[in-house]
């Protein structure tokens, strides 16, 4: 066993969330990996096909990972049937550090598949509801059909979270928000100065959302983002996940907004 050896996990359940996105429930075949914190990721291995970084979308006694099929490896992972085995290494990287936001209002902003890494954070906050102020979950997707975890959102609402969804392109029958996620920032029912924000999505979406939140008065020091870079090891050896001074697998993926902002604005860094 070396840090590069995948640990076998059995797919206990497979749920097709969207046309191209699947949530897998994973059980260790023997020794489990350490319990991931919300925001951390694992390297998932599909036999013979390859390995990719995927965040956990539920952690604790039940481990779930939500994967969008975009290429060879994610296609193979998504296609894995219940009962079959995948490899996991990890967990790697920094978590959302929810504890540091104790007592504050929470804004969670997700773009597309970015909701997956935020889900364990929502669940953790709802499980310890009294430790936080108001909780607003802002979600941007392309179309209503691309809305991840749609069936769960009402439950989050019922447990005291405000959940707002906006779509780029509405479908017939859509009565919700239309437009960029920044349009939802104003609707978040929070006290900005006393809030903390957690943002995950495409880089450009994270930047404008963070700006909008800060524009409403949310302290920049309380904004965290989850970054994405090519990764081959997850261990800080392969060099691929560099973003300027950062190794995203080690120093990230969750990072303070203020730390990444100057790096995000440099082209091709």
């Amino acid at each position: 066993m070396t840090p590069m050896t995948p640990v076998p996990y059995r797919v206990a359940a497979r749920r097709a969330d969207l046309a191209d996105t699947v949530t897998l429930t994973l059980e260790p075949v023997a020794e489990p990996i350490a319990e991931p914190a919300p925001g951390q990721f694992t390297m998932m291995y599909a036999f013979g096909v390859g390995e990719v970084p995927i965040s956990v979308s539920r952690t604790g006694p039940v481990l779930e990972q939500t994967v969008r099929s975009v290429g060879a490896v994610t296609r193979a992972v998504c296609a894995t049937a219940p009962g079959r085995i995948l490899g996991l290494r990890g967990p790697f990287g920094t978590g959302w550090e929810l504890d540091a936001a104790k007592g504050r209002d929470l804004v969670l902003a997700a773009g597309g598949i970015g909701l997956a890494p935020l889900r364990p954070l929502v669940l953790a906050a709802l499980a310890d509801r009294d430790a936080y102020g108001r909780i607003a979950v802002l979600i941007g997707t392309r179309t209503p059909d691309d809305l991840l975890f749609a069936a769960e959102l009402d439950e989050w609402r019922a447990r005291g979270a405000q959940v707002e969804v906006t779509v780029d392109r509405p479908a017939p029958g859509w009565s919700g928000h239309v437009g960029l996620i920044t349009g939802l920032v104003g609707a978040a029912d929070i006290e900005p100065a006393l809030a903390a924000a957690f943002v995950c999505g495409p880089e450009i979406m994270m930047r404008v959302t963070a700006q909008a939140l800060i524009g409403r008065g949310l302290p920049a020091a309380h904004v965290r983002l989850s970054m994405e870079r090519n990764m081959r090891c997850g261990l800080g050896w392969c060099g691929h996940c560099q973003l300027g001074p950062l190794l995203i697998c080690r120093d990230g993926p969750v990072l303070p907004y203020e730390r990444v902002l100057p790096l995000m604005t440099v082209r091709e860094l």
Binding site: M4, F47, L86, R232, C233, H240, Q242, R250, V266
Partner: protein, 369 residues
């Protein structure tokens, strides 16, 4: 600690071989001084020197019999410790999944003979990356832990060397088991051997060598000190880390991109560059899979691939990544510079791009209003 004098490296080879070590050191092959397994002191490049320039390397005959007067060659010790290709494991398909097997053959027990001070530091830098963080690279660690290091203080810097400005030479820093200084008179060279570790002391104890005369020890020191004044190049800029951080938008990157081939040679020859990629392969049946770790380089087009394309697609951004990492962000990531001043990237760049000249230009650009 007491220094000893070796008049002949033969007994040293015998002692190392006798202890079951594979001796690796410089030797002449294909028109260059390469590092390879040596069977005896005769394999050393006695009487060979080199001429170096950006994009150029030539052997030249020396008038003496020096074995170590040739500055850095085409490889560093990297291929022996951080190998170009490592099989990480293999796996076979089973009914519902797969069974992984990791075979870890016993790593070779090397004795590295003739490690130059810059390379000694480079090994320390790779140690930090591959063994000094939360996770240890077992392949590297296995080889590294078994290696005995016999350094050679540098008395013959090359035209492209700048270890002095990087603070890595010409006197060997910590990390060696034994450090030699080559003394040249008529005939065969003599060596002043200094002990760095107990393992080194044990090797020397076997040789029944005489204690070095104080005059020779002084002379050895003086020659190394003199070498410091003969560096072929100098790395400018007092604080490279700041210069790099402040130069991300510099126009110089466009200039160097006109010349750079993105061929990756600089990263391959660099003794500290550590990047690897991982490839998962299968055989034709699809039932047997392997994972390999291969040298990679930030100049590879796929290095920064994300779904949808590479982050650093232009040559300019890739050269900038290499230089700013090496001299700047390495400090943030691993607490030191990633450059030891060996000059290899200058010599082995097929179009002679000179890291010190590029830094000069960035400095000039930063200084200009």
């Amino acid at each position: 600690m007491k220094a000893m004098e070796l008049t002949d490296l033969g007994p040293l080879f015998e002692a190392l071989h006798g202890a079951g070590r594979t001796v690796v050191g410089p030797t002449v092959r294909d028109g260059a001084i390469v590092l390879a397994e040596l069977s005896s002191a005769d394999d050393l490049p006695h009487g060979w020197g080199v001429e170096l320039e950006p994009g150029g390397y030539r052997l030249r005959r020396r008038s003496d019999r020096a074995a170590f007067a040739h500055s850095a060659g085409p490889q560093s010790w990297k291929p022996f410790l951080h190998r170009p290709r490592v099989k990480l494991w293999e796996a076979d398909r089973t009914g519902d999944g797969f069974q992984i097997a990791t075979d870890s053959p016993d790593p070779p027990r090397y004795a590295f003979l003739g490690v130059r001070p810059c390379d000694l530091r480079a090994i320390a830098i790779q140690d930090r990356v591959l063994m000094g963080g939360r996770h240890t690279d077992p392949s590297y660690a296995g080889r590294r832990e078994g290696a005995l290091i016999i350094a050679v203080n540098c008395t013959e810097p090359g035209e492209t060397c700048f270890c002095v400005s990087m603070g890595t030479g010409p006197q060997a820093g910590p990390g060696y088991d034994i450090a030699l200084t080559e003394l040249l008179d008529d005939g065969d060279p003599r060596y002043i051997a200094e002990i760095g570790t107990e393992a080194g002391a044990a090797v020397l104890a076997d040789l029944d060598a005489a204690a070095a005369r104080p005059a020779d020890v002084d002379r050895a020191r003086a020659e190394v000190t003199a070498a410091a004044g003969r560096m072929g190049r100098e790395m400018p800029a007092p604080d490279l880390r700041d210069l790099m951080a402040g130069s991300l938008g510099s126009a110089r990157w466009d200039d160097v991109a006109q010349r750079c081939l993105t061929c990756g040679n600089c990263t391959m020859v660099c003794p500290t560059c550590f990047c690897t990629r991982v490839t998962d392969t299968t055989d034709l049946t699809g039932d047997h899979a392997e994972r390999w770790q291969l040298w990679d380089s930030c100049f590879d087009p796929d290095y920064s691939l994300l779904h949808g394309g590479a982050v650093r697609s232009s040559a300019k951004s890739r050269y900038r990544q290499w230089l700013t990492h090496k001299l700047g962000t390495w400090h943030d990531q691993f607490g030191s510079s990633g450059c030891v001043g060996c000059g290899r990237c200058i010599v082995w760049c097929p179009v002679g791009i000179d890291i010190t000249a590029e830094v000069d230009a960035l400095q000039a650009e930063a200084d200009s209003p």
